[in-house]
């Protein structure tokens, strides 16, 4: 039977496709390729930190490794990971549409990501960059390293994010199947909608900020550099106005994936559908009011610090609503511990630790104590890897049969999860202790008493790498050799499972008519 994978052949049929499912697979290849690159940088960082002293790289190169690890993982992996890859594939199917509202713009957004990434990585051949992924001024203005290509690359990749967000908003408003009211939409669609609002509203601020940075370096306009009459803290305000909501660009879609997984593998209707919807929107709105918690010790005024500290704690409310509702959904459900569900449980466990430590960091005096230590590194990775990566992997395993029409090897899926989950905790939990004990982040070297925990952490990073090698190897094998999948192997309720696996070119042979709630 003709499907989106075999309806057209040849490289150009992929490079110029306007089919959202094919574009999703282009994103998949891009995102996982950069994940390997960013992961390689991370392994080098951990290897350097295995022993006291400069061992395999010098400090200058370490600073570059740290910068590229952050920039690649954030701009090229986690931000496009769920919305652009999983979202592109699933969103039109879940709302019963043939495609997104602007298919050509959708392809353009993938090209923006690839071109932006290419421009960013050309800096590697121009001496590299060592500012950290935050490009803080005045150092980013003064350093002789290749800041401009990296910043311009991030600027171009920002357009990818904006165009995807805009496309999703219009698609959700205009292309829902007959009978699908807003409150009949699956929660993954709601989470993409909330994410899209942030993408459209916040990303332009980053673009303007980065352009101002370039103008300051090239034209010597004094905006952020105090030597030219600028205010370096203003850069941090502008930067975090985007980059804190960006954390929710990374985590909100993962939360949407988790809602789908918990519902499908608990064999129950989701508990508190509307509360989960409003929690997603609430997180999106509150995310714009909390950015100053990144700047407690930057020289920002104490009054602003207090205001941001209080506002930051508000994020805990909708987040707690979500976690409560997920647990309530599982309660007395008929749980099936397949790989996607394991990733959902992994998300709950890791994100809870990341969230609670985030709450600790919201408290101003505590943050001052552990600022720029490994405590922050551990918190951030528990949220980002524990949240986003668990979401991406869980969602990928869940929708894999739909994407490729084949089933993955369950045993190997579970083995991969176990290695990643254990490896993750072995890597990052010791970093909380290192941070509390005062080990600063972003240095290639450390004092001898920190060595044992750093060695445990490095061994954990090898376990994570092994886990991903197992997971990706068997997923790749399953794409071509896995057993054939039925249309709905999980017995899930949402619309995408009514289409064949893999779906035909325009998703449904007949336009579906929605008469029931999303999870009925």
């Amino acid at each position: 039977m003709s499907n989106y994978l075999n309806c057209k052949k040849g490289l150009f049929s992929w490079l110029f496709t306007r089919d959202h499912k094919r574009i999703a697979l282009l994103y998949m290849i891009t995102v996982f390729s950069f994940f390997i690159v960013g992961g390689f940088f991370a392994l080098l960082i951990r290897l350097e930190l295995f022993k006291v002293g400069e061992t395999i790289v010098n400090s200058a190169f370490y600073n570059q490794l740290m910068t590229y690890h952050g920039a690649v993982m954030i701009f090229m992996v986690i931000i496009p990971g769920i919305p652009a890859f999983l979202g592109n594939f699933v969103l039109p199917l879940q709302i019963g549409a043939k495609d997104v509202a602007f298919p050509t713009v959708n392809l353009l957004s993938w090209y923006c990501l690839v071109i932006g990434a290419f421009v960013t990585l050309t800096s590697l051949f121009l001496g590299g960059v060592d500012t950290g992924w935050t490009f803080y001024t005045p150092y980013s203005i003064e350093t002789g390293t290749a800041v401009i290509p990296v910043v311009l690359g991030a600027f171009i990749m920002g357009f990818s994010s904006i165009l995807t967000g805009l496309n999703f908003i219009v698609t959700i408003h205009q292309l829902r199947a007959p009978g699908m009211s807003f409150f009949k939409m699956p929660l993954f669609v709601w989470s993409l909608y909330s994410t899209a609002i942030i993408q459209v509203l916040a990303t332009p601020v980053l673009a303007i900020t980065l352009l101002l940075l370039v103008a300051e370096r090239v034209l010597k306009v004094g905006v952020f550099d105090p030597a030219m009459g600028g205010d370096p803290i203003l850069f941090q305000h502008f930067f975090w106005f985007y980059s804190h909501p960006a954390v929710y660009i990374m985590i909100l879609p993962a939360m949407g994936v988790i809602s789908e997984l918990i519902c499908a593998f608990s064999r129950k209707r989701i508990f508190g559908y509307k509360a989960l919807v409003f929690a997603s929107l609430g997180i999106a709105v509150v995310s714009f009011f909390v950015w100053g918690h990144h700047m407690y010790v930057s020289g920002q005024s104490e009054w602003a610090g207090i205001v941001f500290s209080v506002l930051t704690m508000l994020v805990g409310v909708p987040t707690a609503v979500k976690i409560f509702n997920w647990i309530a959904t599982m309660f007395r459900g008929s749980l099936k511990f397949d790989t996607p569900f394991l990733y959902a449980l992994g998300f709950l466990f890791l994100f809870l630790i990341g969230g609670v430590t985030g709450y600790m960091l919201a408290v101003l005096p505590f943050d001052v104590h552990v600022h720029d230590t490994y405590f922050v590194v551990a918190h951030f990775h528990y949220v980002m890897v524990g949240g986003s990566i668990m979401g991406i992997m869980g969602g990928f395993y869940y929708w894999f049969p739909k994407m490729f029409g084949r089933l993955y090897n369950e045993g190997m899926g579970q083995l991969g999860f176990a290695l990643i989950f254990i490896g993750f905790n072995v890597t990052f939990f010791p970093q909380f202790i290192l941070g509390i004990n005062g080990m600063p982040r972003r240095y290639a070297d450390y004092k001898a008493p920190y060595e044992a925990l750093n060695q445990i952490s490095t061994v954990g990073s090898w376990l994570i790498a092994l886990g991903f090698i197992v997971a990706f190897t068997f997923l790749l094998w399953a794409m071509f050799k896995g057993r054939k999948a039925s249309a709905n192997p999980w017995g899930a309720k949402t619309l995408e499972w009514q289409s064949s696996s893999p779906p035909p070119h325009e998703n449904f042979l007949e336009t579906p008519v929605v008469t029931k709630e999303a999870y009925e």
Binding site: L201, G299, S301, A304, V307
Partner: protein
């Protein structure tokens, strides 16, 4: 597409208003209002922007959802401005007290 007479008159009136406001902008720039210099400049620019949006970009006549989307965008610009300014002003107060 034909332009009806009333909308032509309205657009002409808006154009004249914009020209007058431009002249006022230049005149106001000659006077020193101290710390309110930026306030008056932004006030006039805001009125001009609103006229362009409402009449030339048809927000006044279009579906309300577009005005809502525009309003939300302006609100978030205000959020960025408000909290950044809150920091700067309280920093100045803190420094002057010290």
């Amino acid at each position: 597409m034909s332009i009806d007479n009333s909308s032509f008159k309205t657009n002409l009136s808006v154009l004249i208003a914009l020209l007058i406001l431009t002249v006022i902008t230049v005149l106001v720039a000659q006077v020193d209002f101290g710390i309110f210099n930026a306030f008056f400049a932004m006030l006039i620019a805001g009125i001009k922007g609103a006229l362009v949006l409402m009449y030339f970009m048809h927000l006044k006549y279009d579906e309300k959802i577009y005005s809502l989307i525009f309003g939300i965008s302006v609100f978030f610009v205000f959020v960025l401005y408000f909290f950044s300014k809150l920091d700067i002003i309280t920093r100045i107060i803190q420094t002057s007290v010290l």
